[in-house]
């Protein structure tokens, strides 16, 4: 399994390396706009639980970035599958479905971690310094694992690149705004809080923020991320199998 996964991962790393000079500026744009518009302009005089709004916002942006960048691997898979037919080259090789998913998920996680490093540097430039303890990295790891696993499965289910954009519009974007990224969940009506509690990003944002403030995140949140992540991983393996016509 390891050989197959490492080969798939190696391919994605080569492509990532080739595009890195274009990707780093693109990773800066959204976080920079959120930090300027929400953090600097709107939330300048806002404090939440003794933290400035900028300190509240940055872990949320980190949670969102780890989600969007891990999920972005689905676009890469789709381009390789629908436009370049490279998926066939991997399918024709003696690589198991689980190895393929593991390689792609690792690639999505790597992409998420690199993008988070960029966000941390931007946060530092805005004067926000977070506690980068093991709990912080564990929460990011679980969140990126979850969304990279979801991405591989969805990439196998969609029939075109356009379908992929629809999934982003209907699943990822709403979660990015409602999952406790920009404002506390307590600001929602009680009925809405109950729904939002089921979003994985809610648990990721809460866990990352708690850890970033130097506290230990809720065990339940970390477990929820781990269990949903594993479930998505298994579903992705099944989807890869089903992708053969």
């Amino acid at each position: 399994m390891i050989y197959g996964a490492s080969a798939v991962y190696y391919r994605e790393l080569l492509i990532l390396r080739r595009r890195l000079t274009r990707l780093i500026p693109s990773w800066c744009v959204s976080p920079l706009l959120y930090l300027i518009a929400f953090g600097f302009a709107m939330g300048k005089h806002v404090t939440l639980d003794g933290h400035t709004y900028m300190e509240f916002l940055l872990p949320g942006i980190i949670a969102m970035t780890s989600m969007t960048q891990a999920f972005a691997i689905s676009s890469e898979i789709n381009i390789a599958r629908f436009y370049w037919n490279i998926f066939e080259e991997i399918q024709a090789a003696p690589v198991s479905d689980i190895s393929y998913v593991a390689g792609e998920v690792l690639a999505g996680m790597t992409r998420a971690f690199l993008a988070i490093l960029v966000v941390l540097v931007l946060g530092f430039l805005f004067g926000v310094v977070l506690s980068l303890n093991p709990w912080f990295w564990l929460a990011i790891l679980l969140n990126s694992f979850l969304f990279a696993s979801l991405a591989v499965g969805i990439a196998m289910l969609v029939k075109s690149h356009a379908d992929q954009s629809l999934m982003t519009s209907f699943v990822i974007t709403p979660m990015a705004f409602l999952g406790g990224t920009f404002f506390p969940l307590e600001n929602f009506p009680e009925w809405a809080q109950k729904i939002i509690y089921f979003l994985p990003l809610t648990h990721a944002a809460t866990a990352i923020r708690t850890a970033a403030f130097g506290n230990r995140p809720s065990f339940v949140s970390l477990m929820i991320l781990a269990v949903i992540g594993l479930l998505f991983f298994c579903l992705s393996v099944w989807c890869v199998r089903k992708a053969k016509d």
């Binding site: 391919r11 492509i15 595009r19 037919n85 490279i86 024709a92 090789a93 198991s96 016509d245």
Partner: protein
């Protein structure tokens, strides 16, 4: 060795392959000939594990494609119809990825890459990005990539489609060279002259069924030696002769415009299926 027994493939309501039975011996160059949509690519996709079969049994060197897919995939190399190289990566990087997918260690992989680039006359392109290669070079690279892990069976799905005549002949020479090293080659094509020039045996496929399997010579001999084409208003009429004199006598007797040529595989295909290979 490739063995196909009672192979059927159905896509929803369309039966793409109907009870296909075939055996290709080690070292043989076998061509699958048929019009577009006959089921050539579906057969190759099933043989290489890209598509699941509906019923029947398929094995490569004794390894069942369905039950022992990982082992059967190790036996073969595939050159698909469409270019499936990583455009943004170099020739060397594309080959390295393939070597890693087939669990080749670094030393063996790098040695084999150098050998194969030399073999396909692309040693000077090792660091070139694939997007900067011509169509013919991309095809040669795909063949080199399929041979990297030293498979005993090579599947070529329309290997020269879209290439000009000169480059096509270069690819043919390369295919011949590969066969001389003992590799079994399973080729699909709708270029008649390609099958005629390369194949030891040919199978005609029509609407998912094998119509006939034989050597190109035997199939053409059934028709005669000379073919006389007469263009009618909306069709072409062809007469076959064993002797050139007979053909000339026919032309003299009919006072019409004819084209005299040697019989080819397309004539045999036309006679057996009633349609042209296009």
């Amino acid at each position: 060795m490739i063995r196909i027994e009672h192979l059927n493939k159905t896509y929803k309501t369309v039966q793409a392959l109907k009870d296909v039975n075939l055996e290709v011996k080690q070292g043989e160059l076998f061509a699958f000939l048929g019009p577009n949509g006959a089921g050539k690519t579906t057969t190759i996709r099933i043989l290489t594990g890209l598509t699941r079969l509906s019923s029947g049994r398929v094995s490569l060197n004794g390894f069942d494609v369905g039950n022992r897919s990982i082992e059967s995939r190790r036996q073969c190399g595939l050159v698909p119809q469409s270019i499936n190289l990583d455009r943004e990566l170099s020739v060397f990087e594309n080959l390295t990825i393939h070597g890693k997918l087939f669990r080749m260690d670094r030393q063996e992989r790098n040695k084999r890459i150098d050998e194969l680039l030399d073999y396909v006359e692309m040693s000077d392109r090792k660091e070139t990005l694939v997007k900067n290669l011509s169509g013919g070079l991309k095809r040669r690279l795909m063949i080199a990539r399929a041979l990297l892990h030293s498979p005993s069976i090579l599947f070529l799905d329309e290997p020269t489609v879209g290439l000009d005549a000169a480059i096509r002949r270069k690819i043919w020479a390369l295919i011949r060279k590969i066969q001389q090293h003992g590799t079994t080659i399973f080729l699909t094509t709708h270029y008649i002259e390609e099958a005629e020039f390369l194949a030891d045996r040919v199978a005609f496929l029509d609407k998912g069924s094998i119509v006939v399997v034989d050597t190109p010579e035997a199939l053409m001999n059934q028709m005669g030696v000379w073919a006389l084409d007469r263009l009618k208003e909306d069709d072409m009429e062809t007469h076959y002769f064993n002797d050139r004199k007979e053909a000339n006598d026919y032309i003299a007797a009919h006072k019409d415009s004819f084209t005299l040529r040697r019989v080819n595989l397309e004539d045999a295909f036309l006679a057996l299926t009633g349609k042209k290979v296009k």
